[in-house]
């Protein structure tokens, strides 16, 4: 029997993404968020996860997708990265799927840009494609903070 692995899936701008289930700490509804001025744009803010302060990363921005329509509440997928827990903001949570290695394919060559570094590959599900997200890459802030502007 081929090796299988489990993925936690979620949607971003109608695309299906998945992260390996063992890297996911928990999934929670929208929480009160404190915005961080001057921070990189992909950082939506800080949330209080039972006493642990967790950085929330807007995956739509991170993956250079359309901004989330206003009024749509984001869900938090809290993942464990090398630097502690990080919350990934997604549109909607999907099922947990179990996939076999045979359905995996590398990302197509035509996928370019910084997004490519974050997509490990594609799993061909029955009805659609699931993008496999690299948690570490997604949590890394390659982008530096906005250049400080002196006040005068």
């Amino acid at each position: 029997m081929a090796q299988t692995s489990q993925f936690c899936t979620f949607y971003l701008d109608k695309l299906l993404f998945g992260v390996e289930l063992k890297g996911v700490q928990e999934v929670i509804r929208s929480l009160d968020m404190t915005k961080v001025p001057l921070a990189p744009a992909v950082v939506s803010g800080l949330i209080n996860l039972r006493g642990q302060i967790v950085t929330a990363v807007d995956l739509r921005r991170r993956l250079e997708l359309e901004p989330r329509p206003s009024g749509m509440l984001a869900m938090n997928v809290v993942v464990r990265s090398d630097d502690g827990a990080v919350s990934l903001l997604v549109d909607e949570i999907g099922d947990v799927v179990e996939v076999e290695e045979t359905t995996f394919e590398s990302p197509p060559e035509t996928l370019r840009g910084s997004v490519r570094t974050m997509i490990l590959g594609i799993h061909k599900l029955n009805d659609r494609l699931m993008h496999v997200l690299d948690i570490e890459k997604a949590c890394q802030m390659t982008e530096v903070a906005e250049t400080p502007v002196t006040s005068r």
């Binding site: 009160d32 961080v36 001025p37 921070a39 039972r50 302060i53 950085t55 990080v86 006040s151």
Partner: protein
């Protein structure tokens, strides 16, 4: 337990033991006949040797073995410890440490087996063995109990028999099974060779060992991350408790209230205890200083004794780690540059051996650490000259500086790196790094020195970084916490005061705070929270200014709203946000929401209040007494004793106050009054200026209640506030004041012509000295003491 676990345990234990070895060896050098210490040193090396033989680290074992042989001789009194031997033994300790590091990194004890070190150690034990043998008996007479001496004798002869061929001993020891080695180790001082012969005295020693062993069993090693997690959980518990308390206050239910009260108590106690687990005595880092001092002193041919007071003073673990390097640096500096060579000291009439004193104590929620030496002291004049030459300050600034300000120049970056300046001024390599590191954790450094008598560097640091008192402000709808250590005062300008209170210097808003221009920084603009607003509006027209201090530079931070002071639990920012220099961390507020902690220095840099090179810090220092002749200055004129006219520069004045007589109280013989939450000592000018003899006769009573209100000049001098009671305030006048003559009485700098009349210029430091004021230092961070307890 896997093999690697055993190795890890061995490493952890050995590192600790080696640190103790350093200490004990240096101690032994002073007191070579301390048999307990010798025994302990011997045991430590023996244990390391035994264990690494068992684990198969042969090179390490070899090095430990020669060291052990030498120690055997020392322990048995055949050798007396001298500096050469100590250096060799310390060299061995270093070699062992190096090899342990190797083991930690690679799992192997490295390629080097230190042939020269082993040769030296072997040579020392042979040469000395023959040379010192005759002197052996007096050594033994010093050992107090007669029994051990008697028992030791046969052991000695056995060792002497072995001594010509120490190599022969080696294979025998090597073969000794591990169990036997360990047992012998625990037996203690007696050591393996003497063991069979002194069963009778070994028994009490065993019980001593057993006791220490029991004590060790009472403590366990716990990972710091576990403690951090506990701390987080307790913080959460406290928040949940706060919410419950709020609910229980609105619900009429006696049993709920009782339970929540109990929960309240338990949570508070738990919080305190968990805080304590992170505290460590400062002695933990001091313990390595005797070794440091010895090495540095030996290196530059000096004799230095180190004394420590307040070793048990506790600090948070993170702080202990953060101050370790700066303190080491200061200690090295004191020995290297502060203390003179023995010959020089003798000429100056001091002991050949210099003294280095480390002192730690708590004071108003902060920990003070002092490093004092009785060396040559700093030469203020030379520092001044060099500072001007190097362009760190201008000649004009230098002329105005007090000696103390001058000493603190050594902390400027331009001062430290240049070798030449260092040699002349006495010290300074990396002093700016010391200052930066201490300031990073919210501390301050100050240096005081008397020429020829010594230098004291005082480091003040907060007790803990985990919980700090902070001012919570609101800006753009979000809350931000400002650490209290940077906070000076709060100013609120009502709508009608704003227009004339806030002025513009070429577009940059400033506020006149007691005669000085305070640059204003708008938090919402710096954080780009909202589009620029007109500086004169917002918040119903009123403006809240938080006066902050960053790097000796003051600035006013304009915020929407000032909420309250709170104890906050500091949580570091994740690396995604490390690039944002404006924030020092984050914290969870009482309602469970996250607030960011402002990094005052980072914010000041962003707003260009503080430049990278601290040059502007100097301009802050206002003229202390009088400017150079020719410059126009503003003076405050008042009536002095004997109807004379006296003046002080207006820049030295903090405020003019009028107190009703009823508010004056006595503290000892000192007049005091309560002023802005502090006790303000009051100096009566007419009393202070009287001859000392007369003053003693003057009754130190309170003023008569029927007399009118007293006029007080509130002055700040070297961080202390005090009030000067004068008869009458005359005027404020701007004048060149360049016609001057020498003073005719004490406490007067000189006489000067102001507004066509002769006026005496008051010498503020002198009047303070003569009044012997013990002023209270204003302190904002007193509340942190409550948490720490």
């Amino acid at each position: 337990m896997s093999d690697s676990d055993i190795v890890q345990d061995f490493l952890a234990e050995s590192y600790e033991n080696l640190d103790r070895l350093d200490r004990e060896l240096v101690g032994l050098e002073k007191n070579p006949h301390d048999r307990d210490a010798l025994g302990s040193v011997f045991r430590t090396i023996h244990t390391i040797k035994g264990t690494c033989g068992f684990l198969g680290f042969n090179k390490l074992e070899k090095v430990a073995h020669v060291g052990e042989n030498l120690l055997t001789r020392l322990r048995d009194g055949q050798l007396t410890l001298n500096p050469e031997l100590t250096t060799a033994l310390l060299g061995m300790v270093d070699a062992v440490r190096q090899m342990l590091k190797e083991i930690q990194a690679t799992g192997q004890d490295g390629a080097i087996d230190y042939p020269e070190l082993r040769e030296t150690l072997t040579r020392l034990q042979q040469v000395e063995a023959s040379a010192v043998k005759p002197a052996e008996s007096p050594v033994h007479q010093e050992a107090p109990p007669p029994a051990p001496e008697e028992v030791m004798a046969p052991a000695k002869s056995e060792d002497i028999a072995l001594s010509p061929a120490p190599v022969a001993e080696k294979p025998a020891r090597k073969k000794a099974p591990k169990a036997a080695t360990l047992q012998a180790t625990q037996r203690g001082m007696g050591g393996p060779s003497a063991e069979p012969k002194h069963g009778d005295i070994a028994a009490p020693q065993q019980s001593v060992e057993a006791r220490t062993h029991d004590k060790a069993a009472e403590t366990i090693r716990v990972g710091v991350n576990l403690l951090d997690k506990l701390m987080t959980q307790v913080g959460e518990l406290v928040l949940a408790r706060n919410q419950l308390l709020q609910i229980s206050n609105t619900v009429e239910d006696a049993s709920l209230q009782a339970v929540s009260q109990r929960l309240n108590l338990i949570a508070t106690e738990l919080q305190e205890e968990v805080m304590k687990t992170r505290m460590q005595p400062i002695g933990n880092i001091w313990s390595q200083f005797p070794r440091t001092v010895r090495d540095v002193a030996l290196g530059c041919g000096k004799e230095v004794g180190i004394e420590m007071e307040g070793k048990e003073t506790e600090l948070d673990k993170t702080i202990i780690e953060a101050i370790k390097d700066p303190l080491t640096h200061l200690v090295r500096n004191s020995v290297d540059h502060g203390i003179e060579l023995p010959e020089v000291r003798e000429k100056a009439g001091k002991d050949r051996s210099g003294r280095l004193i480390l002192r730690a104590f708590h004071e108003s929620g902060q920990v003070n650490i002092e490093i004092s030496d009785d060396g040559a002291g700093l030469n203020g004049e030379r520092i001044r000259k060099k500072a001007v030459e190097r362009g760190v300050i201008t000649a004009e600034q230098a002329a105005r500086m007090t000696e103390r300000e001058m000493f603190n120049l050594i902390f400027l970056p331009g001062f430290s790196t240049a070798e030449k300046v260092t040699n002349v001024s006495g010290r300074g390599v990396g002093m700016d790094v010391v200052k930066t590191n201490v300031e990073k954790i919210g501390g301050t450094v100050d240096v005081r020195s008397t020429m020829g008598q010594g230098t004291t560097v005082r480091v003040k640091i907060p007790l803990t970084l985990a919980i700090i008192p902070a001012l919570v402000v609101t800006c753009g709808g979000d809350r931000y916490a400002i650490p209290q250590v940077s906070l000076l005062e709060l100013v609120r300008l009502e709508a009608d005061e704003v227009a004339k209170g806030i002025e513009l210097v070429h577009g940059a808003p400033v506020y006149r705070l007691r005669g000085r221009l305070l640059p204003l920084v708008y938090l919402n603009r710096e954080l780009r929270l909202a589009p620029d607003v007109n500086p004169a509006t917002g918040n119903n027209g009123a403006v809240n200014i938080v006066v902050l201090q960053a790097d000796e530079r003051q600035f006013g931070l304009v915020v929407d709203q000032i909420n309250d002071t709170e104890e906050i639990v500091v949580k570091p920012l994740r690396k995604q946000l490390k690039t944002v220099k404006t924030f020092a961390g984050s914290s969870i507020m009482g309602d469970g929401k996250v607030a960011l902690i402002l990094d005052v220095l980072g914010l000041a840099q962003r707003a260009s209040v503080v430049t990278e090179t601290r040059d502007r810090a100097m301009t802050e220092k206002a003229p202390e007494a009088a400017g150079t002749a020719g410059e126009k200055q503003t003076f405050l004129l008042f009536a002095g004793p004997g109807d004379s006219r006296m003046a002080i520069p207006l820049s030295t004045l903090a405020r003019l106050e009028e107190f009703p007589v009823a508010q004056v109280e006595m503290s000892g013989t000192q007049w005091v009054t309560q002023y802005r939450g502090q006790i303000l000592p009051l100096i009566r000018l007419n009393v202070a200026m009287e001859e000392r003899r007369n003053r003693l006769r003057t009754p130190q009573a309170l003023p008569a209640l029927d007399s009118g209100p007293i006029q007080v000049l509130v002055l700040n001098h070297e961080g202390r506030s005090f009030g000067l009671v004068v008869e009458r305030i005359l005027d404020i006048i701007e004048d060149r004041a360049d016609v001057r003559s020498a003073a005719t009485r004490a406490s007067v700098l000189y006489s000067v012509v102001i507004a066509d009349r002769v006026t005496e210029l008051l010498d503020i430091p002198a009047i303070l000295r003569s009044a012997e004021v013990i002023a209270t230092r204003p302190h904002l961070a007193t509340r942190s003491a409550e948490v720490a307890n």
